[in-house]
Amino acid sequence: MRVKDQHTNKAGLGRREFLGGTAALGLGASGLFGSKSALAQSTKTGTVRVWGEPGPYGGVGVAAMNEWAQKNAPGLKFEIETIPWDNVYVKLMTDLAAKRPPSLISVESPIAMQMMAEGLLLPVDDLVEKIGRNRLVDGVKWDYWGNWKGKQYVIPAHHQPHLLLVRMDIVKELGLKDPDTWDWNDLLNAAKTISEKKQGMAGFCMALGRNLCTDYHFAALLHSAGGRMYDPSNKYEVMFDSPQTVEALNFVKELRPYMPKGAVEYSFLQVVDAHVTGQTAMSFYWGRTLGRAAEEAKPVFEATEAFNHAKHPKTGRRNNWNDFQGWCIPAQNNPFIEEVKQALVYQQTSKEWLIKYCHSLMPNVAPTYKDIADAPELKNHPFYQSKSKTVDTYFKASLAHSSSTANELLQGPNPLAGYVHGRSILAQTVQKVVIDNMKPEDAAKWGARELEAIRKENARLLG
């Protein structure tokens, strides 16, 4: 990344704020900035590094920014670096420590919140106004993505819950109930029935490896049971050593015999593989599984539907883990702050680009703005015809059950979650039970100790 001209262009902001107001109406905001704003062009040249998840949507987001650059900063090229989830922490550490952060990051909320609390991100309240503060879909708030001490640090890219994917052909064949009505016991029974009756097929699959995917899958069970890692209302006291944690661990242990044998090393990739190749009839996953099945295994795609997670028998909760994925801007050593801000607003106010973004991997990335979620153009995708209920569950119905490790049970942001995932504490707790045969009570105690260590080491973030 070479910056040949450090001259920063700050002209034209007044006009842009006015336009932002128009965009807030969410009507035909597409291309507004590019075409009408009479900005002096940015004269910087170079490559603007952007981090994104593996998947096409980051590429689409960057394509929108490049469209902005063509008109407003011809010397710049935005380039997406897709960071595999399990590499995020290594990449984060080396790039930030090397003082060569990307100029823009698209990342799930635990990491965004960790960075924001560390003071590594730029506040973006000015952008929120331009993009439109009142555009968010019902059931979410700005702080789900990243708000700290009254300032917004993250702009929503999408929301993305993992749900229960079920092969309905198998459910019908075996005469099982409608998965929408299941509680944990029904899920367990279904997994058992399928494993016993279907040769060579596991009943259920979730990730159990020492990785991020397991953290996220287990978090949904923990939250459904009513358990939590920390209590943000009480100085982030550790709540993990609880009957709820034990219950969730026990449930994983009970499900274990009906999962593929290799599940103890599964991460994102292998869970998708297991479902797409028909090794399992049910799995926890984000919408990506359907996208891959549509490409590689049509019958699996046609038979698979997504449901909100099975109810916890006592609490009745059906929590998912929602990756409130947002764009954030590193504050230090970032030579393209102004350009990135403008390009981001351009992308976020372009209806056409936002719909393209969602369409690029249906139904994995859900729209965050009402005007996009309700746009007729969004329905202009074959999945909306063949799988309208599943798509709607991912996009809308899941929100009532959303939770995240960075905002547990939606009771307040938690910047410690990034550290928890960096060290795979939840996954390791699960592995203590499923690999080492530790008693769930002891595993919960172990996890609680690790969480307490994180809290102590990072007390500075919480003050």
Binding site: M93, K261, G262, E265, Q428
Partner: protein, 299 residues
Amino acid sequence: MRRLHALLSSDRAVGLLFIAPFVVTAIVFMVYPVVEAIRMAFYSYNPLRPDLSAFVGIANFEFLFSDPLFWDSLWQATVWTLLSILFQTILGVGIAMLLHRALFGMAFFRGLLLFPYIVPTVVIALIWRWIFNPEIGVVNYSLLASGIIREPVYWLSTPTMAMASTIMLNVWKYTPFVVICVLARLQTVPLELYDAAKVDGAGFIRRFIDVTLPQLREVLIVVIVFRTIWTFNKFEEIYLLTKGGPGTSTFNLAVYSFEQSMASLRLGVGAATGVVMMIMLLIGSIVYLRITKFGEEVR
């Protein structure tokens, strides 16, 4: 100018001039980082917040010694090292004996058998994950098809099998090292020794034990010490194949140090682990020097 020339052509000056680049490079890129690693072992250091780094005395070591995972890693590293070395030595000597024949085409075999040594670890790890894939891998397919196993083997999913797989990888890659060293030595064994043994009526096995092994003793000790030191501290072979999993069952100290530094953002603890590794290495090196009587040779 003439003076300078005179100085340069004086023996001593030329000698110092020639050694200077080495000394400078060694100090900057070898001594300094190691000293710095030792210093860091006494500091807390979060790479995201270097401004907060502080002297913590021996807290990092206390953390290490009270962390069960550290002890697990140490134990697992020991198991993985001992088994790797055992198999490498046995196979290495065996293959070297096979290759030590003046038969047609031997150079061809020799070339192929030494090949794994140069294959990048990344490549081996990827190939390993491909051929040992429990569902679609060719190894399980062949074993199932030939009736050796009835159920697919989960090569990387149970602690025991994962350890076995990493050992296999290590043995596969580094046995050539042993082969080359042993072969080089075998070629210097005087043939008369064998002839004498034959005259005495010793069979193949007797000849191996009475003649070959004593001749190989020295080179084997050197090879074993070297390989032990390196194998104990291997990082890539394990990290790229299993990332230390499943669970933490294939962690060794190198993986532990990396994970503490990177994933847990505790560079100080990672460095302290490095210091422990260095101490063990020093012991190993002293053993090596003793055995080879290195000091006595130096003129």
